[in-house]
Symmetry: C2
Subunit: 284 residues, 2 copies
């Protein structure tokens, strides 16, 4: 049984419970982050914590993220994941336990902090070469998806549509304009240019998305943050999903239609190389 | 300490806990209803259960709502609310407990059913006569608000804006087009006509909203289900919120501006009389 973190305590996972009055359970009044580690070294932890702090500030949950900096290595240690090639810590902060009423509770209410660690499996070289699959689905989310809230029913329904179709990822779109995946971002390649939806409040600007944009530009690749349509996607030369647990995942089939040549393309390979090479500088 | 219902058991409220892996806590993957009772007699329970069944079917949580029909009177009894003038039972059904992954879990996963009862206070005659207050706030919700999901962060932020302003309710709007309140519906009166937003997927069609429309039409009042703007609302003759716990609440100040004469108007009073007179026929 793995060990989880709950409000300062380390507990067996199956002994970790929250009150039915927790605003995370009653209202989805919570934010979360997922941070990965390689052999116990966390990746881009500063960017994740900055995003969490900013989300909590935006929804006005008063919380000191230093608690998370401390629990991250401890959860990895207690779950014997120090030597795991690829592990994840999931952290969720809710507005705490209070009688049900929509408006914020008494300001003395303490946030609930829950975290667990898990081993992940990276895609094999063969899986990368084969390319992955996706389906399209309407983006039904609220109008502040930049806040990583646990109110994820729209993402659940989207990801389930992929599962039903035997596909791996989802291409979310608002009236035909592509936004992102259910838990990752989307890049397409057109005429040797990388294109991804702009961080204009209609997407969650992923940490890896930001790194891909920076690395690609430094390497002399043209990157456009611009709206693109499903039509643009279907006629793209290449396409991939990026994300903390997704890494760089080339997609070659969407809704049963072939994207580009039907194999991971040269720019996707280049981005993946840049990503692999950057690990050292991202560790803390 | 009141008694709550959790997965077949009746427990002290402060001893009711759910797993951190409950999809209600992790994903807001849940629906809920609030049903009121007068002296132990439930109001419009069939309509509430029909809406819950339909929401659960839409998000594909497989659940037999007969469990709820049984727990409703039992919770009232165990909390000695049989003689309460106005009480409420809140019921929440989640997709159950499973390791975190967006797509639906193993189909054998049992839904989590949680319910509690509480005494409510009806507005006094003096409060009705004084009229109530509201503020406007952007409707940031997802695109399926007809599903009464617990992913309520947009509603929480809206209701908190009202609380900050010392107001009671919120007028939600999408780019100036009024949708509804944070947990109730909105009617305005123009030239002796009742107007409320259409049940066209951008609102949650409230049970009391439906009853008001039916009763008003039967009484010969013209009712239009039509989009109206903030401008229409500010220039309306009258305005009220309707809802299961809201009942019929005249609003006379919005964003500090007076609506109509600044007192509950004749059509609002007529609707309130129809509402009060209908109780007998709504009880089961």
């Amino acid at each position: 049984m793995d060990t989880v973190y709950l409000n300062g305590d380390y507990l067996a996972h199956d002994e970790a419970f929250v009150s039915v009055d927790d605003r995370g359970f009653i209202f989805g009044d919570a934010c979360y982050e997922a941070i990965v580690a390689h052999q116990g070294r966390f990746l881009l932890v500063d960017r994740h914590l900055r995003r969490l702090r900013s989300a909590l500030a935006e929804i006005r949950i008063d919380f000191d993220a230093r608690e998370i900096e401390e629990l991250l290595p401890e959860l990895i240690r207690r779950n014997s994941l120090d030597n795991a090639d690829f592990a994840m810590v999931y952290v969720q902060v809710t507005r705490g336990v209070a009688p049900r009423a929509h408006a914020f509770p008494d300001p003395t209410t303490s946030p609930t902090v829950y975290a667990y660690a898990a081993q992940l499996t990276r895609a094999t070289e063969a899986e990368f070469e084969a390319g992955s699959t996706a389906v399209t689905f309407p983006d039904l989310r609220w109008l502040m998806p930049r806040i990583k809230t646990t109110g994820l029913l729209p993402n659940v329904l989207a990801q389930e549509a992929a599962a039903q179709a035997g596909a791996v990822d989802v291409v979310l779109h608002r009236d035909g304009v592509v936004t992102e995946g259910a838990h990752n971002n989307i890049f397409i390649v057109k005429d040797a240019c990388l294109i991804t939806a702009p961080a204009d409040d209609m997407i969650l600007p992923g940490v890896i998305r930001g790194c891909v944009i920076e690395m690609a530009r430094e390497a002399g690749i043209t990157v456009e943050e611009a709206h693109f349509t499903l039509e643009d996607l279907f006629s793209a030369d290449e396409m991939f999903f990026s994300g903390t647990t997704t890494e760089i995942r080339p997609t070659v089939i969407v809704d049963g239609r072939r994207i580009g040549t039907g194999a991971p393309g040269p720019l996707t390979r280049r981005v993946r190389s840049l990503y692999d090479a950057a690990f050292g500088s991202w560790h803390t």
